[in-house]
């Protein structure tokens, strides 16, 4: 039975889609059955980052509306055979998603996969709330920057109030993934440091992804960063985060591209 995880942030452009693809690929590479679902209806991106944009026939909306079967809409990754994509529609709008339909699709995905990763659209509107509603837990993607932190705080509040889990009175687990982090600039006070962000958001830390040109390079090539160059700093950070999701205790290190010189040990256990 799959664990359903929503990747969300509130603010746009902080790395939700990159994170969805990278975590999905890292989990799949470890032999897990993974499906990544793009909830950003109208502005689909995940298919591009996954390199599957030329193979999309049916999408989430078709399945939600019953126009296609789930098996027709699932796109298998060409590199890893346990990794699947359920794309979003570019031509419909988010109103085409019905709550019942989304619940049914998530329910149908659960038995066939180990992980269902929902890539939430930015904002706090309908699309974002549908992406988080049926999730078991959340990864909150945040940049070390005040507006992103505040939006993440808002999203955490929503996770605690509008999700199915919250409505049943159960705690909704949330993990912080700090992306685009530059330890040197944070040290100089040019961006918020890890402790500042944790102090405000008060949720366990899943990982710290360093700022790196590898990320842009990988998405332009249509490849999750964890597959494109597994030895790169962000790829290793994402792979560590994926191992933590599976319950492994991995020491929290911020990898850098010039490894031995600048690697920083934070002496903190992650979530």
């Amino acid at each position: 039975m799959a664990q359903v995880l929503v990747v969300t942030s509130g603010k746009g452009g902080v790395g939700k889609t990159t994170t969805t693809a990278a975590l999905g690929a890292a989990l799949a590479r470890a032999g897990q059955r993974v499906v990544v679902v793009d909830f950003d209806v109208g502005l689909r991106n995940l298919d591009l980052v996954m390199g599957a944009e030329r193979r999309v026939v049916y999408d989430l909306i078709h399945v939600v509306q019953g126009a296609a079967k789930l098996s027709q809409a699932l796109i298998r990754d060409k590199r890893i055979e346990t990794l699947y994509l359920l794309a979003a529609s570019q031509t419909r709008d988010k109103d085409s998603l019905s709550d019942d339909g989304v619940e049914r699709v998530i329910g149908e995905l659960r038995p066939s996969f180990d992980w269902v990763i929902c890539d939430s659209p930015a904002g706090i509107e309908r699309g974002a709330s549908l992406a988080m509603r049926h999730a078991d837990f959340a990864v909150v993607v945040t940049n070390p920057e005040v507006s992103s932190v505040r939006d993440s705080d808002r999203i955490i509040g929503l996770l605690d109030s509008i999700t199915d889990k919250a409505k049943h009175g159960e705690p909704m687990e949330k993990f912080l993934l700090l992306t685009r982090y530059d330890p040197i600039r944070a040290g100089r006070g040019e961006m918020l440091c890890v402790d500042d962000v944790l102090d405000i958001l008060c949720i366990p830390l899943l990982g710290i992804i360093p700022e790196s040109k590898e990320v842009l390079q990988a998405s332009n090539l249509g490849s999750p960063v964890t597959l494109n160059n597994p030895k790169s700093a962000p790829a290793r950070a994402y792979s560590d985060a994926a191992r933590r999701l599976r319950g492994e205790l991995v020491p929290l290190v911020v990898p850098t591209d010039k490894d031995s010189l600048l690697s920083k040990l934070f002496g903190r256990r992650a979530a």
Partner: protein, 229 residues
């Protein structure tokens, strides 16, 4: 000797409820005809409703008043209480109601009443962080928060607000008219604090209070802050 029962304490509390207020007009007979017309159109209009009559604009004798009550009860309009009557004018047949505002205005001067409004049953204890976009409203008592209040969150309380964490959002204490309300927090980084409508924004908070444990209170119309040890 009659058995003397020990005086046991019993519980009571104040409460605010919604009621329909009827305001009869002179001549009463015409007004009653209007009521009849209304009842003819919608017979269930007053059914199961709590109704209060406001006779503040009428100068009714005791007999007029009792007649009016009889007329209304004949129409199955159940009167919960009367507003605008002098307690000595009528016998105890109908309770005399006082307006909420009047009580509230009194409470500012009366410490006894003020302390009773902050009874533990009406106050609010919050143990999780208050997130951006969340609004906490406590219309009766104090709010205690054993966590931080995020930037973009807002706490509104009739009484005082106590925050055992960092205050980064907005706090409005004594928001329904209570000059004696106070704000306490362990670390002040607020966007705005206000007591009884007198507010200061982040820009006006002196630097040495920032990030310090503080309390805030009203001195006349001025909101004052001091550091706590």
């Amino acid at each position: 000797m009659p058995t003397e029962r020990p005086t046991t304490s019993f519980k009571f509390r104040g409460g605010c409820f919604h009621a329909l207020v009827l305001k009869p007009e002179i001549p009463i007979s015409t007004w009653l005809a209007d009521v009849d017309a209304l009842l003819a159109r919608s017979p269930g209009f007053f059914a199961k409703k709590s109704v209060v009559i406001d006779i503040s604009d009428l100068s009714l004798t005791k007999q007029n008043f009792l007649d009016l009550l009889d007329e209304l009860s004949r129409r199955e309009i159940r009167i919960l209480g009367v507003e605008g009557a002098n307690p000595s004018d009528f016998d105890g047949r109908i309770p005399i109601l006082a307006r909420g505002q009047a009580e509230r205005a009194n409470s500012a001067e009366s410490p006894a009443f003020a302390s009773s409004t902050s009874s533990p049953t009406n106050s609010l204890l919050i143990e999780a962080p208050v997130r951006s976009g969340q609004l906490v409203v406590c219309p009766d008592g104090d709010v205690t928060i054993v966590a931080s209040v995020a930037s973009g969150a807002e706490i509104v309380a009739a009484g005082s607000v106590h925050i055992y964490g960092t205050l980064r959002g907005r706090v409005l204490a004594g928001a329904y008219g209570n000059q004696r309300a106070r704000i306490f927090c362990r670390r002040l980084e607020a966007e705005l604090i206000a007591i009884d409508g007198h507010y200061i924004v982040a820009e006006e908070i002196e630097n040495h209070f920032r990030q310090a444990p503080i309390r805030a209170w009203l001195d006349g119309d001025a909101l004052k802050i001091t550091k706590m040890a």
